[in-house]
Symmetry: C2
Amino acid sequence: MKRASIKDIAEKAGVSIALVSYVLNDKFVNRINKETAKKIKEIAAELNYKPNKIAQSLKSNKTNTIALLVADIANPFTSQVARIIEDETSKRGYMLLIGSSDENEEKLKQLIDLFQKRQVDGFIIAPVENSESIINNLVETKAPVVLIDRPIDNMEIDSIVTNNFEISYQAVNYLINKGKKNIAIFSYKKNLENLKNRVEGYKKALKDSKIYLDSEKIIYIEESKTQSEVYKAIDELNLMTTDALFFTSNKLAIAALKKLSTLDIKIPEELALVTFDESEAFDIFRVPLTHIKQPIKKISKKAVELLIEKIENTNLLQQQIVYNSEIIIGKSV
Amino acid sequence: MKRASIKDIAEKAGVSIALVSYVLNDKFVNRINKETAKKIKEIAAELNYKPNKIAQSLKSNKTNTIALLVADIANPFTSQVARIIEDETSKRGYMLLIGSSDENEEKLKQLIDLFQKRQVDGFIIAPVENSESIINNLVETKAPVVLIDRPIDNMEIDSIVTNNFEISYQAVNYLINKGKKNIAIFSYKKNLENLKNRVEGYKKALKDSKIYLDSEKIIYIEESKTQSEVYKAIDELNLMTTDALFFTSNKLAIAALKKLSTLDIKIPEELALVTFDESEAFDIFRVPLTHIKQPIKKISKKAVELLIEKIENTNLLQQQIVYNSEIIIGKSV
DNA sequence: CTGAAAGCGCTTACAG
DNA sequence: CTGAAAGCGCTTACAG
């Protein structure tokens, strides 16, 4: 049995489809016969009528749909963001479609293409490496776009990110103030502004404290081999001289914790740990981890707010918004 | 500037929209003038034409879209499932829409309603408590539906689940064989078949080994207060007499590990641990956790396969498929 | 080899 | 107070 359409209701009620449409959308209520309206509504309920959004969208040229393109939906940071964005969009009458680019620019491109064909009203994107031109092409089609998490330099585009440089600077300073002098940093071998800024914050902190910057202590991991390369790096680090590790991502920290939990090292006395972002694992490690907590809620909410403003009201000025992270003190320093 | 439509291309090429449609869809290639076809394709590329899927869907009455309704997208088990299902659906030319019901039947109902209005072609659902009638209503609209993870008793519906009863029986037997006799089980205060079957497996194992079933050792947690109630339960359990804990969900285990990592108890000597499902946290605990690994990949793939079969080929027989889990031996027993 | 026309399920300006 | 008609962007059976 086919789904009921407005036409079925019209026939059954002996009225025109226009009238059915008006009644079901509560339009011109004041000049439609109350009896007729009531009858139409009853028949609609009886037939379990559900408006076909596809048809509505074709007419209105609006799908009330927003695409969220993340780099990796399996990352707990990302899934938290997705959760909040979903709440926000649905509160505002939009539906969220989620795509995961798996840190792959080609997949990002395909997703954008797919979502455009499906006529999404706007995009919230956490760009991947080397995706500048893809994003640029999208923006040129006049599609509303807001970037989160990962800024792109020198691009006229709305973005909402955290203070990656400053908070990393503060975190490393915190380590220094606790007497740590041989601080290694783990990051990804990736051309991403947010990661680069975190490393720069680290460097600046050392420099300002006149600590020698040993390039061997800046460890760049190949993302696809996170686990094995982190293991190897820890093996090769001289843990007798290294007294602190700073991780620019929770995935890196998790990999390191797996390794460290097999070693006999006193934390934080012999080795202090600080990481970006959170994970359930951090509370279960020998000592709870000191970590940098991004204002996920603020970032996510603002992204939705800004995007919907842009959708409903073109020609707004570009905004680059920065919300500050905070350092959550655990017992690993 | 508006997006280019088939009509724009037709005008620019001086042909009919029908011809444009045929060319872009590679239909009747053998009887369309090669030159004309080439010209049309060039103009389409030049105008950056992207077919409007909304219009296509209205015509074809098919959206090539599948809804996945999970209970909690933040659960690592769920996000893994979502990831694999997404891969499978996109491989087969479908797009996945994800909705999270947050274990709330009212929200599940709203999501179903929303997705139906958006004309999804089918549903994969992990039902929440008390959602039998909601699911039933959906099935009665002839919508293709496949259940995963959580079976519903006495319902004619396709489902793909794991052997909850048997694997729990085996896991508890494993504890018993290791000499454990005072085994407590943690589960949720929820009317869900999968959880009930896990508890039944536990009971049967004790019974078959003629171990007295102490009802105080069956601990039902209120999900919204998982952390605090698990803490309280562990405080109240006599850990001198209890020698093993069995968790029916990873969330329960995580909550317990947080508590246990603050206590001075030898694991597994004084207390053994086994849990359902996985978490990054399990590798980082003092000892890696022995846990039950569900065949997520098999379940997810089959769910997509079955659903698409049902979409493209109505009147298939109902299938209730069970895939076996396995016990992953860690060092917590 | 190509085009005119109907129709998918809606909305809405207009006429009466 | 109500309805006929156009149109959103496509596809496709049919005619020529």
